[in-house]
Symmetry: C2
Subunit: 135 residues, 2 copies
DNA sequence: GTGACTGTCCTATGACAATAGGACAGTCGG
DNA sequence: CCGACTGTCCTATTGTCATAGGACAGTCAC
């Protein structure tokens, strides 16, 4: 699991961590019961305060994604239920809407936008395939 | 120009305004010399504080996108260089890629993703139409 | 038991976003 | 001139994010 923090995005660091870990959990990037990186080393690696990572983990536990055992560590919950269809749609809607608003202001019309979306889908699928071929 | 604020995105409101207006300015959505909405009415419409809009406008003037004349208003600068087609595509690609990656993590397949994109496009176009009908 | 690790709790501080509202000066139509 | 508008400046307050560092309790290998 590669965690990537963008300090210039304006989005709070701890929320970036929450989203990335939650997505990884929901898509099998993390396996059930698998331990997450410890707070202090992860904070050092990402160059953020340990309290910031702790806040992200606390939020994840609050959401029922992980289970934390003081003295041992944090683990992906057994009962980690993948997002429902509507929950996934809600998250995706937010992402898509941002792109749609940008397209509107950039005066990119519907057809050009859809063409670009398809192109990016193809590009992404190729990238995924290359990666799986190498594995 | 339809301005869209997402209070839950974590991204500062004034920066959302800056981005959207800059995109619109560079893509012909706003014409050179055209006045921008006045601070107070726009703040009221978006339901944010007038200081927040003022901050966005100040940032835009700082970036050389607009010119503000105290007592008169804010206007799109003459020398505002438009984005090329490829520049716009580059910005949009970034936005779209984020949605594509999210779809992958959420295990939403290509067809479902495209369907959702079209639905959000329709939804947005309705919203734009409603606004122009009211004006 | 000791030491090294784990997560947790606490206070304090600084930076920033956003709010609220008062006050001021410039512009312009009447 | 007057009133309504424009942007600007100011202080104060609230809330959040992130930082820093101290302290504590649980776990585990040795």
């Amino acid at each position: 699991m590669l965690l990537q923090i963008d300090f210039k995005s304006g989005k709070p660091v701890y929320l970036q961590l929450v989203d990335q870990i939650r997505y990884a959990a929901a898509s099998g990037g993390l396996r059930t019961g698998e331990p997450l990186p410890s707070i202090r080393p992860l904070a050092e690696e990402l160059r953020v305060n340990r309290n910031t990572v702790a806040k992200a983990y606390a939020e994840l536990e609050n959401q029922g994604v992980i289970e934390t055992i003081p003295g041992k560590g944090c683990f992906l919950k057994e009962s980690n239920s993948p997002f429902t269809k509507s929950a996934r749609a809600k998250i995706l809607t937010k992402e898509i809407d941002e792109a749609v608003v940008a397209a509107h202001h950039l005066q990119v019309d519907r057809d050009a936008f859809l063409a670009l979306v398809k192109e990016r889908l193809d590009s992404f699928e190729r990238k995924v395939k290359e990666k799986s071929d190498n594995d």
